[in-house]
Amino acid sequence: MAAIGQIVEPTTASAALSRAQARAALIPDCMVEARRLANTVIAGWHGRRKRGIGENFWQFRPYVDGESLSRIDWRRSARDDHTYVRDREWEAAHTIWIWADLSPSMMYKSTFGTVSKESRALVLMLALAEILARSGERIGCPGIMEPIAARNAAERLAAALMHSNGASGLPDTRMIRGHSDIVLIGDFLDPADDVMERLGPLARRGLRGHVVEIADPAEELFPYVGRTEFTDPETGQKLTAGRAETLKEDYARAYHARRAGLADSLRHLGWSFVTHRTDHLASEALVAMHMYLSGMPAKKPEVRP
């Protein structure tokens, strides 16, 4: 009987890029809802659907006392008895940091999943970069790439990933400045306290985080039966279960408790949390992230059994 799960080779960034672009083509442009736009003063070239500094006309509004007279639009005001001010649409860019966990535990694929977790994480990361870059956001990857605002941000991110020597569990967050968004993609299988210990300081620095937990169906469903020896891909530890099916319920309880704890802690930080299984479509997670990033909290995705 063949093993259910297997350790896979790391996905090349170029392959992931092509798949990511295919995914991204399905998703509309993502306007990052900038709640803290006052703090990101870099002008971008896409409108914010708000009045502010920009070039495009947004609205006429009645003049209120105290405003500069020079802002009065006399051409409009001449048409009736009121005086109007011409507002322009606020145009600004936002910095999004995207990071994917490429540690050995991600190099896992079971017979239930379609791709490995690492592959899915890369696809999500690059697809997100593609979508955001289309909207003119500044894309960065902590430890790998400084934020850039370019149409080909996804390609450049893929190139940077190719040149980085890869796997480290913890993102190097020193290069993150100011208030920006960070998207963390990984399996987050470490104890929830450890994870929060790493993410807590980021939140305290004012970063707005979005966490995507990628899980393989085998990890969630525990379909193992019979005498099974489990090995840890990170540490190489071994553990033998006489009848693995007896562990299923306990394991599922612990697994979901960890996930619930993590989600709870992240909610306290004000961060969003999305779970994604590799047997589902990558677009699902992408759409969910899209929703969160554009300020429309998506309905909490139902965890399929």
Partner: protein
């Protein structure tokens, strides 16, 4: 003689390796499946204790140890029943083999035993004297072992008891004083006759060693009798081994060997004879042809039944003239009604008794019933007595004539007093007497106590010492009512009352039926020949029993069976058990007569006799079984290892629905393959079915294609116009109009066919007209339209060519009388209220079948089916008025040009269609007010 030994005991030393195997097995557990598992930390926190992978479960180890041990033992080759040659080599081996009926069940073991002895004799190089005790010719001359083996192979058990006196004589002659070395007697253990001194006789031959070899004797069970009792068939069974209690199943078979009833017989411990019963309805017992003991296949355990179990043939005689006009006064009427369900009844064709009695006896009745006959013709007594002595049963009923008969009648069972005794009545103190309980010796015993039967008059028996035991039924005061007496093989029964209701109400009761039935049942079946010529010749063998209890047509050297009137004889060489006679009637000749008891053979002086049992099976090796066991254990081990590896659980868990669905699909597929309905059904499709089916779901208006293009076009457009009008105005939505060729198309799917008559069109053939005739007869309607209302204007001729053509057509049709539509006809009110039926023209009446009175005339075939006229004739050219073109405009003008008339033409068409489809329904609606009033609305 049974034993146990190893062929290669040295191999058993390998057993000391088992502990080493144990140690090795414990060290190698089943290999686990290695799984990489990223959430390892979570799993580790969940697992309470770590599996110790160093050991496999003890029972798995034990299983493997057993497997190893089984293989070692199998190689060591254990053998059961090793034999040793202990034959005395001093003289010839004398083998006395009982090949009687009782040896059939274990004959092969006897042959094996004898073969082993012959083999021993061959190795000792001594001659063999082989003799079979149930053979007619017994040859005891010593021969070489090879010849003896051939004779043994040719021998078979016989369906006969052993005759050992011949054996001893033959042995004496053959041995001629030579003392045999070993005398082995393979006995069936059954004594022939009361005592059997065979062993003692054999000892007088002075053998060096006398071995008495017998089987377990469990097969020595014989049915010695079967008698038909009131409720069940009683079967007497005897057995040889009387030690323990034993219950044997019995089965009754019919003439074709099918089991039709079952029963049991139970021997209690120490009992050699037991009675069992096979309970079955009387009618079923008629069909019994043989009774067998289940599981014991030999001649003794098979008991043949003959016609004694068939329906009896009962002949009637009455003293009085048969008065068929008053049957309730005739005694034969009651007997007839009582016995008809149970017996075949025959009556004489003539009233003259001297002719009637020989005539009846020639038909071989089982029972002769004489109701109230006092004196018989003098020359009738002798044949009648001979018939009774040959087994016939005479049942007589009393009556005035018998009461008046002289007392020296030989054909009554008891001496009768002259005259009858009257109970009750004006001149008697006594009351009419009920019946007493039936005495135990009576065949009526066991019937319910008769209730409500009162005897008013009877004939009285002279008291004799044996009167009580000849009595089957008594009155409450003790006087006998039914008496009997055996006469030869037959019997005379006398009912002391008459068979009609004059003397008692007994013939009216159910007891009468039951008493007669039981009495008749006692008679022997199959008829008794009146003359004894056939008996003196004997009955030829018809079917003989084989040793294993089956019937065979091979009669061999059996002689015809002489039926003795006395004690039945056991079967012998001349008359082996079987059926004697012919297909029409036969007598069963069984192995043992009734009451026979089989006894064990007398034990001889125990000191000189070596008792042995038959050898069991030949020495047989356990090797294959042990290897099979090891293989099974290996399979079990594989299954367990797979199970522990989770193979089955995974398969079951992962694809339960899919596998179940696949199994279902497979099962359905197999069933479909087996019962393919399409293959079983004949292909009954006919050409034109498609067109027919397309006409069936929708009503279509139809017209006759005359062959003239203009006429047909107007017809088609006219019906199309009517169809549109109907669809618009009514719930009837007909399909497209259909032109029919009356010579070939199927007409029955159309309610009405419009036939425009055209004199210039070709005349339809007679066959086509007969099809129209059949169509009308089956409920269809033809609307003939001559379209000539005004054609004749200005001409002198009274009839137009179209009318002449119509007359020519109708001349070949069988049409009812016609009349113009009466004003109260349902046609005038079936949808619209109409007074006339105009078409393009107005004025021609619409002719329909005349409503005659209710009297139906069977000679008129074209009757109105369902009250609808089968024919309508008009001259108003309906189709012309209805005809519309593609845009819905009328094609032809009405005459005179009046759109109201066209509308009335359409209304006429609607009324006609409604009349066609609803029949008299509208006419019946005139009753609705009355019905509503009755319902209280």
């Amino acid at each position: 003689m049974s034993g146990f030994a190893f062929a290669f005991p040295a191999v058993l030393t390998a057993l000391i390796l088992l502990p080493a195997i144990w140690w090795l097995l414990r060290l190698t557990p089943p290999k686990p499946l290695v799984e990489a598992f990223p959430p390892f930390a979570i799993l580790a926190s969940v697992m309470k204790r770590e599996e110790t992978p160093a050991q496999s479960p003890w029972w798995l180890t034990l299983l493997r140890m057993l497997m190893a041990a089984a293989i070692i033992f199998a190689i060591a080759d254990p053998v059961f029943n090793p034999r040793a040659n202990t034959l005395s080599g001093d003289g010839p081996l004398v083998l006395v083999v009982d090949n009687s009926w009782a040896s059939a069940s274990d004959w092969q073991r006897r042959v094996d035993t004898a073969t082993a002895l012959i083999d021993d004799a061959e190795s000792r190089n001594v001659p063999v004297s082989l003799v079979f005790t149930a053979d007619r010719q017994q040859d005891a001359v010593p021969t070489d072992p090879e010849t003896a083996r051939t004779r043994l192979a040719a021998a078979a058990s016989r369906p006969l008891p052993a005759d050992r006196t011949i054996t001893v004589t033959a042995l004496r002659t053959a041995l001629d004083g030579t003392a045999p070395g070993t005398l082995a007697y393979l006995s069936d253990g059954i004594a022939s006759g009361e005592t059997d001194e065979t062993l003692a006789e054999l000892q007088t031959l002075a053998p060096g060693e006398l071995r008495f070899i017998e089987g377990d004797g469990l097969g020595a069970v014989a049915i010695t009798g079967a008698s038909n009792e009131a409720e069940a068939l009683a079967v007497t069974v005897t057995r040889l081994r009387t030690g323990e209690a034993r219950t044997l199943p019995l089965t009754a078979h019919d003439a074709r060997g099918r089991p039709i009833a079952a029963g049991t017989v139970s021997f209690s411990a120490g009992e050699a004879v037991a009675r069992g019963t096979i309970a079955a309805p009387f009618e079923l017992r008629n069909d019994f042809a043989q009774v067998t003991v289940d599981g014991i296949a030999n001649t003794g355990a098979t008991h043949l039944l003959d016609d004694g179990f068939r329906r009896r043939r009962v002949a009637f005689l009455s003293g009085e003239t048969a008065d068929v006009s008053q049957p309730l006064l005739s005694p034969l009427h009651y007997i007839n009604r009582a016995l008809a369900p149970y017996a075949d009844l025959i009556q004489p064709g003539v009233a003259d008794l001297s002719v009637a009695i020989p005539e009846l006896l020639n038909q071989n009745p089982s029972v002769l019933i004489m109701a109230d006959i006092g004196r018989l013709p003098e020359d009738s007594y002798a044949p009648l007595e001979r018939w009774i002595e040959g087994g016939g049963m005479l049942i007589r009923f009393a009556g005035p004539r018998l009461a008046a008969a002289p007392a020296d009648d030989p054909l009554v069972p008891v001496m009768l007093r002259k005259g009858e005794r009257a109970l009750g009545g004006a001149l008697s103190w006594s009351e009419p007497q009920p019946l007493a309980d039936y005495p135990p010796n009576s065949p009526f015993f066991g019937m319910q106590k008769p209730e409500g039967i009162l005897i008013k008059r009877q004939v009285l028996a002279e008291p004799t010492p044996d009167l009580a035991e000849r009595t089957w039924a008594n009155l409450a005061d003790g006087t006998p009512l039914v008496t009997t007496n055996a006469m030869g093989s037959g019997r005379i029964v006398l009912f002391h009352v008459s068979a009609e209701t004059g003397w008692s109400n007994l013939p009216l009761s159910g007891d009468f039926v039951e008493m007669l039935r039981r009495s008749v049942q006692l008679a022997r079946g199959g008829g008794v020949a009146a003359n004894s010529d056939a008996q003196s010749q004997g009955l030829p063998p018809y079917r003989l029993l084989t040793a294993v209890g089956t019937l065979s047509a091979d009669t061999g050297d059996a002689r015809p069976l002489k039926q003795a009137t006395g004690e039945p004889r056991p079967a012998d060489f001349d008359n082996p058990p079987g059926l004697y006679g012919s297909e029409d009637g036969y007598v069963a000749h069984n192995l043992f007569p009734r009451g026979y008891q089989i006894r064990p053979i007398a034990p001889a002086d125990a000191a000189t006799v070596v008792r042995e049992s038959l050898i069991g099976e030949a020495p047989w090796s356990l090797k294959p079984e042990l290897f099979a066991l090891a293989a099974l254990l290996l399979l079990a081990d594989c299954a367990i290892v797979l199970f522990m590896g989770g193979a089955f659980a995974a398969a079951v868990r992962r694809r339960p629905q899919r596998s179940a669905a696949a199994a279902l699909v497979l099962a359905i597929g197999a069933a479909a393959l087996m019962f393919d309905p399409g293959a079983a059904r004949a292909d009954d499709a006919k050409p034109g079915d498609d067109a027919l089916f397309s006409r069936l779901d929708t009503t279509h208006l139809a017209y006759v294609v005359t062959g003239e293009g203009e006429v047909d076009r107007i017809s088609e457009r006219g019906l199309a116009g009517l169809t549109e009008f109907l669809t618009y105005r009514t719930t009837l939505e007909p399909g497209e109009p259909v032109g029919v060729d009356i010579a070939s198309d199927e007409l029955s799917v159309y309610p009405i066919i419009y036939w425009p008559i055209s004199a210039s069109a070709p005349m339809p053939s007679n066959a086509a007209i007969s099809r129209i005739d059949a169509y009308m007869r089956n409920g269809g309607t033809v609307l003939f339209d001559t379209r000539d209302q005004f054609v004749g204007l200005g001409e002198n001729s009274a009839t137009s060519p179209n009318t002449e053509r119509l007359q020519a057509i109708l001349a070949n049709l069988d049409i009812p009388p016609l009349e113009p539509v009466p004003t109260d006809h349902v046609l005038t009110k079936s949808f619209y209220l109409l007074s006339n039926f105009p078409g393009r023209y107005s004025g021609s009446p619409l002719w329909i079948e005349a409503e005659l009175d209710r009297q139906e005339d069977p000679t008129r075939p074209a009757r109105a089916g369902d009250g609808v006229s089968p024919i309508m004739i008009t001259g108003n050219d309906f189709a012309g008025a209805w005809a519309i073109d593609a845009s819905g405009m009328a094609m032809l003008p009405t005459v005179p040009p009046d759109e109201v008339q066209r509308d009335h033409a359409f209304r006429s068409g609607v009324n006609i269609m409604m009349y066609m489809l609803t029949g008299n329904y509208k006419a019946d609606q005139v009753h609705i007010p009355a019905l509503l009033e009755r319902l209280g609305q």
